[in-house]
């Protein structure tokens, strides 16, 4: 039986984390053998989706019980729905918490199958407020870069001539598409930026093939993110995926524009 304890550090001696969603670690302890492993909580450091990432992690680890200080009703709903029992109001260090749990000394237990009263007005409001809050955060995270991109395009509009751009995008559909895919591969980040850049490129007369390749490669190929992808998913996978996706971006661009032109009539 596996018990996940939200914790401030990765060890059995670490203090129990007081908030399920934002604790730094989860120490996952085997109730019988007391062997443990610890995982950093991705939600503790990420700007968005904290709380939910903790839920994902805990469900993914197939634990039976969560021990924590506090757990939001939403998180509780998701956990219990996935067959996880939650004990709140836990303090002290991880080892003590598990020991107390084994001796049934912990009281605030929410059993599996507990349904948060999601249809009461109050919870609806909480859910809406929560969604609103994370939307504001995601939106605010997206705006500065977008503003920078727009200002940069303004600069390029004022300083760059069509001739300069046509040095890169010559008008040859095949070459332009490849260039577009290269351009999109280097950059990463919110795709909304690629739409704005793509829209401006179109106004400069760059072909839709190239612009589509930029948009597709922007998300699917990420040279900037390759180190992170390698460390998470392995060198072979990351390299193969990015190379295949590069060619996919070119193919998707070609097919999209051909179909788009075809269905015009």
């Amino acid at each position: 039986m596996k018990i996940a304890v939200s914790a401030e550090g990765p060890y059995l001696e670490s203090e129990v984390g007081q908030r399920f969603g934002t604790s730094k670690y989860f120490v996952i302890v085997d109730k019988e053998t007391m062997s443990f492993e610890s995982m950093p909580n991705p939600g503790a450091s990420s700007a968005s989706g904290s709380g939910v990432q903790a839920i994902v992690l805990v469900i993914g680890k197939k634990v039976d019980t969560v021990l924590t200080g506090y757990c939001s009703p939403t998180a509780m709903g998701h956990l219990t729905k996935n067959g996880i029992k939650i004990v709140t109001g836990v303090d002290g260090n991880v080892y003590e918490a598990v020991a107390k749990y084994k001796k049934s000394e912990l009281k605030n237990i929410t059993e599996v199958g507990h349904k948060p009263d999601s249809w009461t007005g109050e919870n609806n409001r909480t859910a809406l407020a929560g969604a609103f809050k994370s939307s504001v955060r995601q939106f605010v995270n997206l705006l500065p870069t977008l503003a920078g991109v727009v200002l940069l395009i303004g600069l390029l509009n004022a300083l760059m001539s069509k001739e300069l751009l046509s040095l890169v995008f010559s008008g040859d559909a095949v070459f332009d598409t490849i260039w577009g895919a290269c351009f999109g591969s280097i950059f990463a980040g919110n795709p909304v930026n690629s739409y704005v850049i793509g829209g401006e490129l179109l106004e400069y007369g760059v072909s839709l093939f190239a612009v589509t390749a930029v948009i597709v490669a922007w998300v699917t190929v990420g040279l900037v993110q390759i180190p992170a992808e390698i460390s998470a998913l392995g060198r072979k996978f990351a390299v193969v995926r990015n190379i295949v996706s590069f060619f996919m971006a070119i193919a998707v661009a070609g097919v999209t524009v051909l179909v788009f032109n075809f269905i015009r009539w």
């Binding site: 990765p10 939307s135 597709v216």
Partner: protein
């Protein structure tokens, strides 16, 4: 097992990181204004025009974000990955990629977990690539490229990611 240090970035540092890029660009503007003021004004006007173009679609983006945050969340996505066999697995990882929000690196820990449990490489690749389809950004995309293009691109991209995912799976097999 996983001894990777948690990188808790204080919000101040994060904020600085976020505004660094626009501030740098503004500094270029400042410099340009001292050398070629008329160019700087033209650049600023041009940026203003782009802002006006995207401001309404961005409003819709915000509304969609709220709706998505309200009704979808990563806990659903785990469920999608739970069953992963044949066509169903492909459809589900594709759907999971489409509705997953936030930067891709936020998803790496989960993907690693799934892979350690034996999720197929092809499904991982489909998930990552499907993130190119962004429902909540559709208003901006449509305002720039038109509805017909967006529909065609979305359908072709979804097909393309499945093909690319399959190829990635075959080539990265150990």
């Amino acid at each position: 097992m996983n001894k990777k240090k948690s990188k808790k970035i204080p919000w101040k540092k994060r904020a600085i990181r976020l505004i660094l890029f626009p501030v740098l660009i503004l500094m270029v503007y400042g410099f340009l204004f001292t050398v070629m003021p008329e160019k700087a004004i033209a650049a600023f006007k041009s940026s203003g025009r782009i802002f006006l173009n995207i401001i309404i679609p961005l409003g819709f983006v915000f509304i969609l974000l709220v709706v998505f945050n309200l009704f979808l969340n990563p806990a659903h996505i785990v469920k999608f990955f739970g069953k992963k066999s044949g066509i169903k697995g492909i459809m589900l990882s594709s759907a999971a990629g489409i509705i997953s929000m936030g930067p891709v690196y936020a998803w790496y820990p989960l993907l690693r977990e799934l892979r350690e449990k034996g999720a197929a490489n092809s499904l991982m690749a489909i998930f990552i690539n499907s993130r190119a389809v962004k429902p909540f950004l559709l208003p901006v995309m449509i305002s720039y490229f038109g509805l017909r293009y967006v529909i065609v691109l979305t359908v072709v991209t979804m097909t393309g990611t499945i093909v690319a995912g399959y190829i990635t799976g075959v080539l990265s097999r150990d």
